[in-house]
Symmetry: C2
Subunit: 370 residues, 2 copies
């Protein structure tokens, strides 16, 4: 589009908007105005964006922080820098970057602060870049900050075949002699075993607590719990002395249907683990809450922690120690289907979204010889 | 005493008994029967025993686990092996040892399981040995297990001039560039500064939260809280993102008088920090409870953790990285005075107790030229 034309009518971009809390019909592709970068911002042409469980929770109206409706969701993306503000020096047009923010990534062009964008390692694909940030930062902070993972420890990973789950398994394998228990349905056990899970457990057919006690009678050192509700109590009780459980979600709150269920939410709340500074005294255990969204949104020092972690993750990627498992790629317009796949826990690893123009271009490139 | 005489009437030892919950009059020196070691036990002639805040809580009836009255308190001691059971091979008569157990150390002879006794490094004094185990294991587990202390972190240590406090300061200094905030009354600031405390704060004249915010506006990475009650909430709120607070006592519960105050206890409970697995989710913080007594009493793996830690502490002692600060030594018969000193928070470092015969012998050695 010539710039003379752009001056006559506002330039529009394609974006997926969440227009309210509810079912998949609340997600609508819209044409919205392009926003020029201010002096500290950059514009990225999105190659791929990540789908996260938090996006499903937000759609059901069960997740904060969230902007007011309507807004463009999307925490993370990979892409190419298309324009930069006058103050931006560490990025240039044409740079391949990954980016993350509180929202806004499900669009073909994204205008955002330059400090949310990071140059990708040269050998990283756009798919891997879009799959890396949220899942691996989450798993890294849980395992190495709160979890204090060191050699010879045992770790329980719920939803082990999901994006965070596979990231966590791979990160566990960077430490000597870590025993990884992972829950996933039986059909996914081969994949999580290949990733490094020592003991896959099918939560459909087995009681994970009983199975773990058979192998490790004293319990587990570190538990990653994205489920909450009654699992939060079962996990706490399963901890070894000096063990740590890190709550980082409430998947049990999310209704399996399209809309939220207040009954499911209430049951999760009612059954969740409660304690206080006196009653925890004699337990020799630790609980933690982890939430990447709040970490970045409300704390200046949250950003610093994330920056250090991204450096470390790029290093591990370059060494071949970690590699995102991509489950599937959907065009943005099919985000409902992508969400249903995640809700049904059919995915193995990361689900990516692709702007429809990019998806069509990829298709055309596949079928033409130009 | 000749052994022929011992055969005629039971051999008696001197011990300090706690005969009930209450004031100092509940602590009484008694002659109790000597117990021969069974095949796995050893007998130690006690040189020094440690006094811990938990002993004060127990006397007030505020601490569990505790045996039934009457019993001989005392968690730790140093001494010399005087007899061994038939199965004991790793210790010999004459060995210099440190020992710890759930109770029983406040006596001139102690019969206990050999696996609670550890040969002291050759260059360790009996005073240092008796001052080491409870305080340094506690500080070590809190800082390095739950706290995940690493370079460039900040630590808040309450009661920084106490036994655990000084141990913790010294352990912080074994890690690069750790900023240590310590609360203690002004008269003790020189000592804790010498030990390595970066910012001593006088809790009598200053609001520690306000003082810390002035220096470190984002808060603290690791807080060691032996106070509980309203301090448990203030500490939680003072944590940085991904910060950790470890509760390991409830000094605020202990009445400053001789007897427990139910009002003080209730106030501490009422004001203590409460959370659950859902409300902690968005906080990006961790809470932990630490209790060495339960760690050793109820968990097989607790012992293993302690053994590894003792090895590490002996190594640090031999390197000169840690060295117990001995506040004072009281004869066992004056334990009430020793407790009052601790209750008034007059001590700087560890208070030790010495069996009266040993104390008298020391005195005689000091005044004779034999």
């Amino acid at each position: 589009m010539a710039s003379s034309e752009a001056n006559e009518r506002p330039r529009l971009i394609s974006a997926m908007e969440l227009v309210g809390a509810g079912g998949y019909d609340k997600l609508q592709i819209k044409k919205i105005p392009y926003r020029e970068p201010n002096s500290d911002e950059v514009v990225i042409r999105v190659k791929f964006a990540g789908l996260n469980f938090a996006d499903l929770m937000r759609r059901q109206g069960l997740y904060s922080p969230a902007p007011k409706f309507p807004y463009v969701p999307g925490f993370e993306a990979s892409g190419v820098v298309e324009a930069i503000g006058s103050n931006v020096s560490q990025l240039a047009v044409g740079d391949r970057v990954v980016a993350f923010a509180g929202d806004g990534m499900w669009a073909d062009l994204v205008t955002l602060s330059n400090d949310r964008c990071f140059k990708m390692p040269d050998n990283m694909s756009f798919e891997d870049g879009a799959a890396l940030l949220v899942n691996y930062i989450t798993a890294y902070h849980i395992l190495f900050e709160f979890g204090n993972l060191r050699p010879n420890k045992s770790v329980l990973i719920h939803m082990a075949a999901g994006g965070v789950g596979i990231a966590a398994i791979q990160l566990c394998k960077t430490v000597k002699n870590v025993t990884v228990f992972g829950t996933a349905s039986g059909s996914k056990h081969n994949i999580i075993k290949e990733a490094g899970c020592t003991h896959p457990i099918d939560y459909h057919t087995e009681d994970y607590v009983a199975e773990i006690r058979k192998i490790s009678p004293n319990g587990i050192d570190i538990i990653m719990d994205p489920l909450n509700g009654e699992d939060s109590v079962r996990g706490y009780n399963l901890l070894k002395p000096l063990g740590r459980i890190i709550y980082f979600g409430a998947a049990n709150v999310a209704a399996s249907g399209e809309n939220r269920s207040l009954f499911t939410a209430f049951k999760t709340w009612y059954k969740c683990f409660s304690t206080n500074s006196l009653s925890i005294l004699s337990d020799n255990k630790s609980i933690a809450g982890y939430h990447l969204g709040y970490l970045l949104k409300y704390f200046d020092s949250g950003k610093e922690i994330a920056l250090e972690t991204i450096d470390e993750l790029f290093r591990l990627y370059n060494e071949g120690a970690i590699k995102p498992q991509i489950d599937s790629i959907y065009p943005l317009s099919k985000v409902g289907e992508a969400m249903q796949r995640m809700h049904n826990r059919q995915n193995i690893g990361k689900i990516l979204l692709q702007p429809d123009d990019e998806a069509n271009a990829t298709k055309n490139n596949d079928t033409t010889t130009e």
